[in-house]
């Protein structure tokens, strides 16, 4: 290809590319409302203590409780120091990893569900996926992963949405889909999922 051809093509590219994913007018008010809802949720004192001393106190309390449980769990026939702290750490990390993976999958599923619901996707398959996620969700709610109040509340809200999708009939009414979409948006479920599983965070670096 000659230099002249290349220049012609580059010009053509630039001009045609202006229509690539041409953005509509941003729904400013709608997005602002969602941002405010999510921020209000995180401003609640139990959701995110602002005072660093609260964190220090909480960490200390957890440490005391942990040590207490550890001491109580040492049976008399075991010599002191025989508690397998390493195994405990591994168990906690395993629950955390599972929770991160679950939340990440749920977020991707809800994002896709919301997008595909408009285009008329296969609701039976969506419903089957929701049931699978719902089962994991319930297991996690009963696991140590739900000891974190923020995660527990998120799992509880997620459960409602997943349950609604799981119950979708093969030919759902538009109203049903609208209600589910509203449910996702009402509690700021997606933004909260994304905050719980930060973008780009690998499973081993979660911040739950």
């Amino acid at each position: 290809m000659s230099q002249q051809d290349e220049e012609r093509l580059d010009q053509l590219l630039r001009s045609l590319a202006q229509d690539y994913h041409l953005p509509p007018e941003p729904p400013r008010e709608e997005m602002w409302k969602a941002i405010q809802t999510s921020r209000r949720w995180y401003r609640r004192p139990w959701a995110r203590p602002r005072n660093p001393l609260v964190w220090v106190a909480a960490a200390a309390a957890v440490l005391i409780v942990g040590v207490g449980i550890g001491r109580m769990s040492v049976t008399n026939d075991l010599p002191p120091g025989s508690v397998n702290w390493e195994a405990r750490g591994v168990r906690t990390a395993a629950y955390r990893l599972t929770a991160i993976e679950h939340l990440s999958q749920s977020e991707a599923f809800l994002t896709l569900f919301r997008a595909s619901a408009q285009g008329g996707s296969d609701e039976r398959l969506a419903s089957a996926t929701a049931r699978q996620l719902l089962a994991s969700n319930r297991l996690l709610l009963d696991s140590p992963a739900a000891h974190d109040r923020r995660i527990r509340l998120l799992l509880e809200d997620l459960e409602l949405v997943l349950a609604e999708i799981a119950q979708l009939s093969p030919q759902p009414r538009e109203k049903d889909l609208e209600l589910i979409k509203e449910g996702i948006e009402r509690g700021g479920v997606l933004p909260r999922l994304r905050t719980a599983v930060p973008a780009g965070t690998s499973s081993t670096q979660g911040v739950l």
Binding site: L13, L16, Y20, H21, R28, S38, A108, R114, A115, R194
Partner: protein
Amino acid sequence: MDDRELIGRVLAGDPSAERALYDAHVGRVFRLAYRMAGDLDRTQDYVQETFIRAFQRLGEFRGESALSTWLCSIAISITLNGLRKTRRFREREVALDDAPAVGTTAREAEPDLKDRLSRAIDALPEGYRTVFVMHEVEGYTHEEIAEVLGVQPGTSKAQLFRARARLRVALADFARD
């Protein structure tokens, strides 16, 4: 009101300053996210997440770059990660094969020139596509792109060069006509 003053007021808890910051930057953030995602619902999610995260971390903004650049770097990171996650999920879940493709819009089987270009841009590797969209479509300079993506300006230029080369191939037969 300049960015520094606005940030100071937001950090002091002034709700009108939060709204002013949002109003000043949402258009640019939205455009960039939409150009990358090509889907309104996903774009809304990414933009909302960008501002939620930006407000949470505003205290960490050191002013080394423009506020708009900082916001765009959050937006692009959230958008690319969101698109990757959705793509991975779709690959795992055959169940949702009928859902719209990630980062693309549904198109006719026989595309015209614009459609052909759109498909070619969609098919670019993520790095090439990001730089191409930012530079050629949204008009960012290589220096801005470098700041947003955390790369050298030379890397941005190289990515653009390669992106153009691939797209020229896709459009070559049209140019001969």
